[in-house]
């Protein structure tokens, strides 16, 4: 009786193991899909890579790599998707999105100009918003995007066409006329007031010492005052440059946030 029971147990165990093959392609795919839906993209990609390649697997791997910012690997996978596949169109959109995310603007612009496909024109224009002043007319620019997004996009267009830059020359000239005013012009009010007080004080001390026949101290304060004055002109010009780079940085940050929010105009 014991022997029968033992053999029965052995048989069911072996059979159960055969039936529940955890590493079958179906199970791997189920597990990978679960990881993907849980946004565990790195592990999802590793699981998908164990499966034989097809378009849907490549697409999922590419999306996973895109999500974890392994853009080159994602681009490779998107490029492998067959032209005749149902996923080809959406993969091309994702491909251009990946190029935008990885800031490969040269590649993106070259590919879209060569393809002459009007569907992808919007990515070219978005890329222009990031990189250059080659933007087309406003109507032409807005034509490529959905009509309900035109208000916000026209805001970005205007900001790119007419960025609120400050002129280095103006800042320098203002500071040459009234010390510190160039810094106030670039938004550094505290620095501007400090500059004005320092240069004024040193000039007064110099004047006061010269009038009281303390020539050495007069020259000392005059020299110091001159260097602070010249430094303030230089600093004002640089301050305008820093202001401009902050404008660029903020513009790009807002644009990226907006595009992320709109999923780069790719329908789910």
């Amino acid at each position: 009786m014991k022997k029968y029971f033992f053999f029965l147990l052995l048989f069911t165990s072996v059979n159960a193991q055969k039936l529940n093959n955890l590493h079958s392609p179906e199970n791997i795919k189920l597990f990978a899909d679960h990881l993907f839906s849980e946004k565990d993209f790195l592990r999802a990609a590793l699981e998908y890579e164990k499966l034989p390649e097809d378009d849907s697997i490549n697409f999922k791997i590419a999306l996973s790599y895109q999500a974890i910012e392994k853009y080159d690997a994602a681009l490779d996978r998107f490029a492998k998707i067959n032209y005749e596949s149902n996923l080809y169109h959406i993969s091309q959109h994702q491909y251009f999105k990946t190029l935008l995310l990885s800031e490969q603007h040269d590649v993106l612009q070259r590919k879209i100009i060569i393809s002459e496909n009007t569907d992808y024109q919007k990515y070219l224009y978005i890329s222009y918003l990031f990189t250059s002043d080659k933007l087309p007319g406003k109507d032409e620019f807005l034509k490529s995007f959905p009509s309900n997004e035109k208000v916000e996009l026209s805001f970005f267009y205007e900001k790119k066409k007419n960025p609120p830059y400050k002129s280095s020359l103006t800042a320098g000239l203002l500071s040459a006329l009234i010390p510190g005013s160039g810094k106030i012009y670039t938004g550094r009010i505290g620095d501007g007031i400090t500059s004005f007080i320092t240069v004024s004080l040193l000039s007064f001390l110099s004047y006061n010492n010269f009038t009281n026949d303390h020539d050495f101290r007069g020259w000392l304060f005059a020299g110091l005052g001159f260097f602070f004055y010249a430094g303030n002109i230089y600093g004002s010009a640089v301050s305008a440059e820093i202001y401009n780079s902050q404008v660029d940085y903020q513009f790009q940050k807002k644009l990226k946030e907006y595009l992320e929010q709109k999923n780069y105009f790719i329908s789910e």
């Binding site: 505290g190 007031i193 260097f227 430094g231 303030n232 230089y234 010009a237 640089v238 940085y249």
Partner: protein, 142 residues
């Protein structure tokens, strides 16, 4: 048998005594509490010209007579004196001096908080931002 055991124990004792060879490792170490200078070149300058020799002499004198006595009080990183040396190296004596006087004005501003990113408890204000040449976007405060 007893003799063999004693010899064996003696050998073990010898072996254990000679096992620790890196005795210095456990010794007291000299701790340097001074904050590192912005770069090693400034700490140990090797002047290449008379101009640099003069610059480093002034900087060393400043460090010896003022900075070391006064302490690490500059709110910026790099400190104003290190900024001066670096700015002269990056550009020239004239532009470097202008950059230094501009920095000194910024140092005197009592409302500077919020204008600079804070790294290591100091306002990060590197030379590269003021040379008109480098990309500045990466250095902007959030």
């Amino acid at each position: 048998m007893k003799i063999i055991c004693n010899i064996f124990l003696f050998l073990i004792l010898l072996n254990n005594l000679s096992a620790q060879t890196e005795k210095e490792k456990w010794g007291k170490t000299e701790t340097d509490y001074r904050i590192n200078y912005h770069n090693e070149e400034i700490k140990n300058p090797e002047p290449k010209s008379y101009g640099e020799f003069f610059l480093h002499s002034v900087h060393s004198a400043y460090r010896f007579f003022i900075s070391d006595v006064d302490g690490d009080n500059c709110p910026f990183q790099p400190s104003c004196s290190a900024f001066f040396v670096e700015s002269v190296k990056e550009t020239n004596i004239f532009q470097g001096s202008l950059m230094f006087f501009d920095r000194f004005t910024r140092d005197m501003n009592i409302f500077k908080k919020g204008n600079y990113p804070i790294i290591g408890g100091k306002f990060y204000d590197p030379v590269e931002q003021y040379t008109f040449t480098e990309e500045k976007n990466l250095l902007m405060p959030e």
